[in-house]
């Protein structure tokens, strides 16, 4: 499966980090493709509830992502589906993907693990046939990043 993953240590208790993952105010403050945070966020953090978040990138273009909360275990785990919207329409090239965030209490605060994976679909079936799948797994391992403990 094709995925990107990050491990990040944050000097805040899990309950505080968790709020930032499931509230509109929290999500607006940190989700974004470049320097700017999101311009709006609608978030209904219940299992089956939806989110819709809009961004403006430095080139002035607006992008949106939408999805559904699939699993919520307060304060340690959130799983959501994810899809990009371009010009108000679902991006046909972008299939539904899955974001899983796990929180673990550590001495200095919280360790967050974020895994964003593409679901299997026709494209990954084709990729598998042509040998891309194994290679992509290799690539994913190389992309997996452990970021340092934040200074505090």
């Amino acid at each position: 499966m094709t995925s990107v993953s990050f491990v990040r240590r944050i000097a805040a208790r899990p309950a505080i980090v968790f709020e930032a993952l499931v509230t509109a105010e929290g999500i607006r403050s940190w989700w974004g493709p470049d320097d700017g945070p999101a311009i709006s966020a609608e978030v209904d953090a219940r299992v089956g509830g939806c989110f819709r978040v809009r961004f403006r990138t430095a080139d002035g273009l607006e992008h949106e992502c939408v999805g559904e909360f699939l699993e919520i275990e307060r304060p340690e785990r959130v799983v959501m589906s994810w899809r990009w919207i371009q010009n108000g329409r679902i991006d046909e090239h972008d299939k539904v993907s899955r974001v899983e965030m796990r929180l673990r209490a550590i001495e200095t605060g919280t360790e967050l693990t974020l895994v964003h994976s593409r679901l299997s679909n026709e494209e990954s079936a084709r990729a598998h046939e042509s040998g891309w799948d194994g290679a992509l797994q290799k690539l994913t391992r190389r992309f997996s990043t452990t970021l340092g403990v934040s200074s505090n």
Binding site: T2, V4, F6, R8, I10, A11, A12, R13, I16, V17, E19, A20, G26, S29, W30, W31, G32, P33, D34, D35, P37, D59, H93, D94, S97, G109, T110, L112, L114, H116, R118, E123, S124, A127, S130, G131, W132, A135, L136, K138, L139, T140, R142, F143, T145, L147, S150, N152
Partner: protein
């Protein structure tokens, strides 16, 4: 045929394994063809090192170089990146930038909570 394809894939993934080369590709994906000097500008490395990275990217078929007079222009080779790789790059950029902001946001709230508890 299969051997050739695997050798090509190895070159693609070796090329993509380096963060500077991924940054070069991301930049080229957003712009018109750039001169080598213009391309090297935002990177804090020697021109010679940039040229070496460009050799690796060109060998993998990810970029094209064209000489106009004395200037070499570099552009992304159309369709050379598998959609899944483009997706990985896009999401990697998205979360990488976002996680710094998450840490800043949560840590500010943690400090406030500690002040309240005092």
């Amino acid at each position: 045929m299969v051997k050739y394809r695997e050798a090509h894939l190895d070159r693609v993934f070796a090329a993509l394994s380096d963060p500077t080369r991924r940054a070069v590709l991301s930049r080229l994906a957003r712009t018109r063809p750039l001169s080598v000097t213009a391309l090297a500008e935002p990177f804090d490395i020697k021109l010679h090192t940039v040229m070496k990275h460009l050799d690796v990217l060109a060998d993998a078929g990810l970029i094209r170089r064209a000489k106009t007079g004395r200037t070499v222009h570099v552009e992304i080779a159309g369709g050379s990146l598998h959609p899944a790789v483009r997706w990985l790059q896009r999401q990697e950029r998205f979360w990488f930038a976002s996680l710094d902001r998450l840490a800043a946001y949560a840590e500010a709230r943690e400090r406030k909570a500690q002040e309240r508890d005092r």
